[in-house]
Amino acid sequence: MTPILADSAAPRSRTQRQSILKQIMGMPAGAIFLVFMTLQIVCIAGALLYPNEFRYLSPQNLTILMKAVPVLGCLALGAGVLMIAGEFDLSIGSVYTFTAVLMASLVGAGVSAFVAAPLGVLAGVMIGLLNGQITIRFGLPSFIVTLGGLLFWRGAVLLYNGAVQVRFDPEPVFTSLFSGTLLGINAAFIWIVLFVVGFHFLLHRHRFGNHVFATGGNRGAAEAIGINTNRVKLVAFAIAGGMAAVAGILATARVGSVQPGQGAGLELQAIAACVIGGLSLRGGRGSIIGIFLGVLLIHTITDVLLLLRAPGFYLDMFIATLIVLAAIFNHLIERRGVA
């Protein structure tokens, strides 16, 4: 009796496991979730087996990870919403630096950080709206418009401030609010988790999010049904600019100063995180959880390679491979979805 039971039980449990796997893969961020979990399991196992050589689980390393994630996270959330709406923003790295310089120099001139920080975010939102207006009014590819923005705002930083670093000396309350710790968890990390939750509800549970997906997924259909797609895109541009400024606040509060060159390349990392997280370059597809997992994945891999003392170029090559693989995977999913 027993062998028969064992025989019949084994295949069933295997099909069950397969269907769970299939279910996870079928979810919006399922594939990236599996990759992420696998990597975590490998890393944790490695850290438990070789606690001295591979300090993945050491408190210092976890703190480094928690501090690193929020900046790219904010940038990627903004860039991601815009990508789902069908547009790009390459200027967010420069806007991130520009608004941080603006905020820091306002504080240097005696303005309270609690006033300067919202002004920085406002500046980011305005720049985003400007990008959007130019893109929409003249019917240009946002890729080109915001490439212009990337160079323009990078130049504006140097014009306004020169190539020197700006000190940031806010009220202590401000510093602890954005880079202190709460129950051992880094404040910036708490902020990014809150943003992820907020963005998730905005994009997946709110009318606005539905219109973002419709605008990016099939603009003609969205307009035919009466959605003002230009307005949706404008708001998405504003969100991308505003989140770039928020990233600037988190980074500046952590470091206590702004380097004029600090944002270079971050826009590409943000877009990379989005692609790895399952967003389509053509818009209309993706999820907030996916974006966040994309950011976590990039930073976990960076961290692991640092812990293994691998030279920096390995990191670039690794991320590059990951992006292309993710893009191929997304493309296959899309094709299956449209067929």
Partner: protein
Amino acid sequence: MSNLLELHNISKSFGALTALRNLSFHIGEGEVVGLLGDNGAGKSTTVNLISGIHKPTDGYLSVDGKKTLFTCRSDSADAGIETIYQHTALVDSLSITRNIFMGRELTDRFGFLRQAEMREIAMEVLQNAVHISGIDSPDTLVGNLSGGQKQAVAIARAVYFKKRVLLLDEPTSALSVRETEALLNQVLKLKAENVSSVLVTHNIYHAYQVCDRFVIMSHGTKVFDVAKADTTINQLTDYVVLT
């Protein structure tokens, strides 16, 4: 009694090209009108005009006897007109439910979606009002549906939002025989619920199967307007081919 929708001496020019010339016809309550004619006759332009995408160069529309000007798509939607497009206006990357409620989402007062409620209604409409084979869940992505199933979703949208007139521009061009049959039945079912339809098609047999009246266009004007009882397939064919 006034007609649900009337076109009065409508002309439409695109620059030098006159697509519609002095076109008048009406659509009655619960009436299915077949809009026939060769390629370039102006059928799609007429549909776009009724749905508010184009504005007439001359002439006007009236709804329930009242002169109206549609300046955009949502004006006609407010008047109860739903268009089922040649290439259906759906978003492939979203679920059936989200497509049915696209632009008219049920939300709480902060704009958050009432998902469970929308899903339930979508299920109900798909099962009862629109019988489509092979759709098992309203969570299915529209991109995974066949052409006929997509059109059924578009029709489900019209059914739920209690539209008064359905404009169907060559809806069967991408459909299989069975899907075409289902679509035509759908039109008849809606008619039983007093929903009017304008069916644009190349296929006179399809039109003859479901329409109460036929409007035949040629070179931007109406050349024939006849009730089904007063005509035959042969006569309709002659008008479409010879004018």
